[in-house]
């Protein structure tokens, strides 16, 4: 456990943290629960009571991170994870293993910061297990550079045990998206709930591929997949939201919206699959230009077309 920062890492730490200090001013003075990583170097790690954070660097330079949240505790302050690459060129591979104990409540805010990207790869493979009655939120916020090339490959498998609740939010806060390939599979058991939300703005030649599959294995399990993608220039989006209803009275919904400008191309594939006649799974998918009624309304309020589009897109991605 590294709860005191090495002096040689201090500058890297401060450079990374500066990107999120407006959201989390406490981060700069060390009141940071979680960990900060530049490339595969753990610059700082700290655990609030009830959480154990361990890591190891593997031979292939991958970083294995293991987070255990004790059973029956409630962590009121979000646990921050900050994975960045400050260099222009680099590859970061994180194997993340999170286990949330029975009836515990925890929120993670994970910042992925690649501000100077010329050629950056970020590969994240997560295994997340929520024990019965646990509640976990995972907010992944990406802060990228305005140019260069970024490859993002976040993938994972999540198990949500009986009565547990898993919520995941993925946002690109700034910069180019790059080549994004998100692939998550979530299994939900009796009376458990899962909510997945992804919001990405693609520009230039960004390629955004999202595949999220939710297996409603348990009785009375519920799952929602919500995706909002805005594509401009020559960007490409391929979104698959899949819900498979297996348990009695399980309910799922896929809600995908892609707004397309310029020469961008969008594809949406909502897949709903009821393996149990008592399961109900629904979907809605919309691809196209900006909603005309919204546009007209804002223009009738005195906004130019460009201003109105910015407001509508900003709302979708908020």
């Amino acid at each position: 456990m590294k709860d005191v920062m090495d002096e040689k890492y201090k500058k890297e730490y401060e450079t990374l943290i500066r990107y999120i200090e407006s959201d989390y001013p406490e981060s700069l003075d060390g009141r940071f629960a979680g960990m900060v990583v530049n490339s595969n170097r753990v610059l700082f790690a700290n655990s609030p009571e009830g959480i154990k954070v361990k890591w190891i660097i593997l031979e292939d330079n991958a970083l294995n991170v293991n987070i255990r949240v004790d059973p029956g505790i409630r962590i009121d302050t979000p646990v921050h994870l900050c994975f960045g690459i400050l260099n222009k060129i680099g590859k970061q591979k994180i194997n993340m293993d999170i286990e949330v104990g029975k009836d515990s409540v925890v929120k993670f805010v994970s910042h992925c910061i690649f501000p100077n990207s010329v050629d950056i790869s970020h590969l994240m493979d997560a295994r997340i297990h929520l024990h019965p009655g646990a509640r976990m939120e995972y907010h992944e916020v990406h802060i990228h550079g305005k140019s260069g090339h970024i490859t993002l490959v976040p993938s994972g498998k999540v198990r949500v045990d009986a009565g547990a609740e898993f919520k995941s939010y993925f946002t690109l806060k700034s910069g180019i998206a790059g080549d994004v390939d998100i692939d998550y599979e979530i299994s939900i058991y009796d009376d458990a709930v899962c909510f997945l939300e992804s919001k990405i703005h693609g520009r230039e030649k960004d390629k955004i591929k999202i595949k999220e599959s939710v297996f409603l294995k348990g009785n009375n399990s519920k799952g929602i997949i919500k995706t909002r993608v805005v594509l401009r220039d020559y960007s490409f989006g391929d979104i698959t939201g899949e819900i498979i209803g297996e348990g009695d009275n399980s309910k799922g919904h896929v809600d995908c919206m892609e707004v397309v400008f310029d020469n961008a191309v969008a594809k949406a594939s909502p897949i709903v699959f009821a393996k149990n006649p008592k399961s109900k799974v629904t979907h809605e998918a919309a691809i196209g230009s900006i909603d005309r009624k919204q546009l007209i309304t804002l223009m009738a309020r005195g906004l130019s077309e460009e201003e109105a589009i910015d407001i509508i897109v900003g709302g979708l991605l908020r």
């Binding site: 919204q294 309020r301 709302g315």
Partner: protein, 226 residues
């Protein structure tokens, strides 16, 4: 004055509004009556620049017939739609501040109070979480905050519960008293009574104009579907 001269609106290759001449005055509520399909909403959308039109729209002496929706709004002509849009990720506060000419939160709160909505609704998103009636009242508040010269209100009372009707009437009167010309499209007898003048439309034409009470009687008692 806002004038329509030989004003026509085509939809799907068909002439819906058929060469109307009509004047609307500031500080006056001008009620537009007519059966479903008579062309009231099409006329409103043509006036605002949503649908292409022929003839002229003259606002305080300026021919705005070729202006965009945005430029017409900048000139002081706006609309509260019959079915307001919903906006994901935009709060009521965001929307009202966008609409507000003075960008003042105090004005926003006052307008919200005028339409009988509680303050906490400011932080709600303009999506399905608002009822149709709430959404319509937010729309009226937005129009009021724009301080328009002319406001077209397309059935502002539809979907509004009886208890909230008085609030809707109050903001319409407040718009008029602020000097705006209000063009009020309605089927409601109570709304008609707010009018200073009324016009009745049938089949895309104006078939009567005058005192709102008399026009209402004409509308209710006509043997023809006007």
């Amino acid at each position: 004055m806002l004038s329509l001269k030989k004003f026509k609106v085509m939809r799907g290759g068909k002439e819906i509004v058929k060469g109307i001449d009509c004047d609307f005055h500031r500080g006056q509520i001008h009620v537009i009556l007519g059966a479903n399909g008579s062309g009231k909403t099409t006329m409103a959308n043509g006036m605002i620049g949503i649908y292409p039109s022929q003839g002229k729209v003259i606002l305080d002496g300026v021919d705005i017939s070729d202006f965009t929706i945005y430029n017409r709004a900048k000139m002081g002509l706006t609309i509260a739609f019959q079915e307001p849009a919903r906006f994901e990720g935009l709060t009521v506060k965001d929307y009202l501040l966008i609409s507000s000419k003075d960008k003042s939160i105090h004005d926003v709160e006052s307008a919200l109070k005028m339409v009988g909505l509680p303050k906490h609704i400011l932080y709600q998103e303009m999506d399905e979480s608002l009822s149709g009636g709430e959404r319509k009242r937010v729309e009226l508040a937005a129009v009021y905050l724009m301080k328009p010269k002319y406001a077209i209100l397309d059935e502002p009372d539809s979907g509004i519960d009886v208890r909230s009707f008085r609030k809707i009437a109050d903001i319409i009167l407040a718009l008029r008293d602020s000097g705006a010309g209000v063009i009020l499209i309605t089927h409601s007898q109570e709304m008609i009574s707010l009018g200073d003048v009324a016009t009745i439309m049938a089949d895309g034409r104006i078939v009567g104009r005058g005192d709102p009470t008399e026009i209402r009687e004409l509308f209710l008692n006509s043997p023809c579907p006007i």
